[in-house]
Symmetry: C2
Subunit: 322 residues, 2 copies
């Protein structure tokens, strides 16, 4: 086991067996069901986790033993737990999940932080107006698939990019994007944006940075807004080639805003039922790409960074009776 330098590989992971602990006062023992697999975790692997400690990520599970009166055995919960089958955590760090309102896994995807991330970046920063063009990179990802649909609801023309033809088809056929392209196979991203955004770009929801951001800067309209949610193109590279076309910030009076969902977590109680209603009525759809078994985690995570998933990637490590 080692820290990744550049691309992460299987040698950075190890599955370790430990006895299941007992909860002390105020603690809860959770049987984990879904573990979240997110690109941002790659960045955190550089230093945020102790080497040999489990990766901390969003997890949905079920309480098996509780020494916190707020939670009882059988309750469903989510929290920042470990990539592990059982987690011991303070009850104060858990949030209850109602298993009746939809798939349990949604609590850490569309009815959770990735969904709220889409909302905050789009509504607070991109501010799409009817008739405008909104471009979304990683158009079918955990966040992007919600961004595209919310932008469409706002009356914008919505264009997406993704790294496989399957993602491109999914964006248009399933998520309602007006146009989409495969950034790996187009002759240039800049040409692809010229074709797919004939009226320019008024808002860009950036999940990738790098070359795609550079191309978008060359295609934006005056007054365009760019929300920087992720820069997946940078997470595994050890050198930084720089981004050109920044003169566009000046020439087009752009606003570029980076944001972190951790500054907005307090809005989840407001967001969760709202998104739950949209999902229930079918006005927002959401796809998850669920892989089974904790042993599959390293490969699943590495594959997601390479782009082999369509939809939000999760690993199921326990039975979902919901």
């Amino acid at each position: 086991m080692k820290r990744p330098v550049g691309a992460v590989d299987e040698s950075c992971f190890e599955v370790d067996e430990q006895p299941v602990p007992e909860p002390g006062p105020g603690e809860v023992l959770v049987r984990n069901i879904y573990l979240s697999c997110d690109p941002y975790l790659r960045g955190r692997m550089d230093s945020a986790f102790g080497l040999g400690e489990p990766v901390t990520a969003r997890v949905v599970g079920q309480v098996v033993a509780s020494a916190d009166p707020a939670f009882a055995e059988g309750d469903h919960v989510w929290g920042f737990l470990g990539w592990e089958e059982f987690s011991l955590i303070r009850g104060a760090d858990l949030t209850g999940v109602d298993p009746e309102v939809g798939p349990l896994s949604n609590a850490i995807s569309v009815r959770g932080m990735p969904g709220l991330t889409a909302w905050v970046g789009l509504v607070d920063i991109v501010k799409p107006q009817p008739g405008e063009t909104v471009f979304v990179s990683s158009a079918t990802g955990a966040v992007g698939q919600v961004v595209g649909q919310l932008a469409k609801r706002a009356g914008a023309r919505v264009v997406g990019s993704g790294g496989t033809d399957a993602k491109v088809a999914h964006a248009v056929d399933r998520l309602g994007y007006d146009a989409a392209f495969n950034y790996r196979t187009v002759s240039s991203i800049r040409d692809a944006l010229r074709e797919s955004c004939p009226d320019g770009i008024d808002g860009y929801f950036d999940n990738v940075g790098g070359e795609t951001l550079e191309a978008a800067l060359a295609r934006v309209n005056p007054g365009a807004r760019i929300a920087v949610c992720g820069m997946i193109s940078r997470y595994e590279s050890t050198d930084d080639p720089g981004v050109r076309n920044l003169i566009s910030i000046l020439a087009n009076r752009l606003t570029i805003t980076g944001f972190s969902i951790y500054d907005h977590v307090h809005r989840l109680p407001w967001f969760v039922p709202r998104m739950g209603k949209w999902l229930a009525e079918g006005s927002i759809v959401y796809d998850e790409d669920i892989v089974d078994g904790i042993d599959s985690l390293p490969g699943t995570f590495i594959g997601m960074l390479a782009g082999d998933n369509v939809g939000k990637r999760l690993v199921r490590v326990g039975e979902d009776h919901g």
Copy 2:
């Protein structure tokens, strides 16, 4: 005469003699006194002006003949006139200037658009708070010298950069910057910012872009605001090396906002008397670098782009009786 490609040189300019015209209905003939020399004009020389037509820039002058009842002979005015000794213009495009409130030249510098540019970028975008650190590039320029003083009034620690030791001394001794450095002679801008901004950068007023922006991105604090007012480092380069460290936008939840003063011209009537009061009471100081004679214009402009001025560069082409 030719359009500049890359660096502008004397062969791009020509002094041409034409008869002084007579005003037609609604027109005013202005005897020009001060012509503004601004870095942004370099960008406009690529295509905005007709080849062989005078450069259009801010000019202060005096009415010599008027066929617009709103202006009488002897009135002082400013407007977007030509780099020429006399200009014929519609009266509707002129603004009156009160020669009693201060130097006439101030109407196109501190009590005019460069002053308002400083206000808008600093107050609307950088939003300095007491105790924060604000960094200003081109710290002693037409705009920068006002930014530094306004940031200081707001209670910030203010750090500037400039391209000569004279500018650096001027920033600290005359304008009240807490620290300043010569970006041409420091070992690296990044190291200079580390030393001069020990608590990081909370707001950056960018007049230059390029390497300085890249270094500032590496030194900003979470939540920092960057106002992009100019990118002088880019105006004369034909290639774009790109800017690194954009991951900081995400990591530090930055807001980067490009702006153009043309979107804010309506605020001038509010701004001019306010700045006039500060100048009169001495709480804001302002320095102009005035060169005489229309023949000196090409060299004066080229020299300004190379950084040989301290303060706002103007060319005086007619007598100032004010």
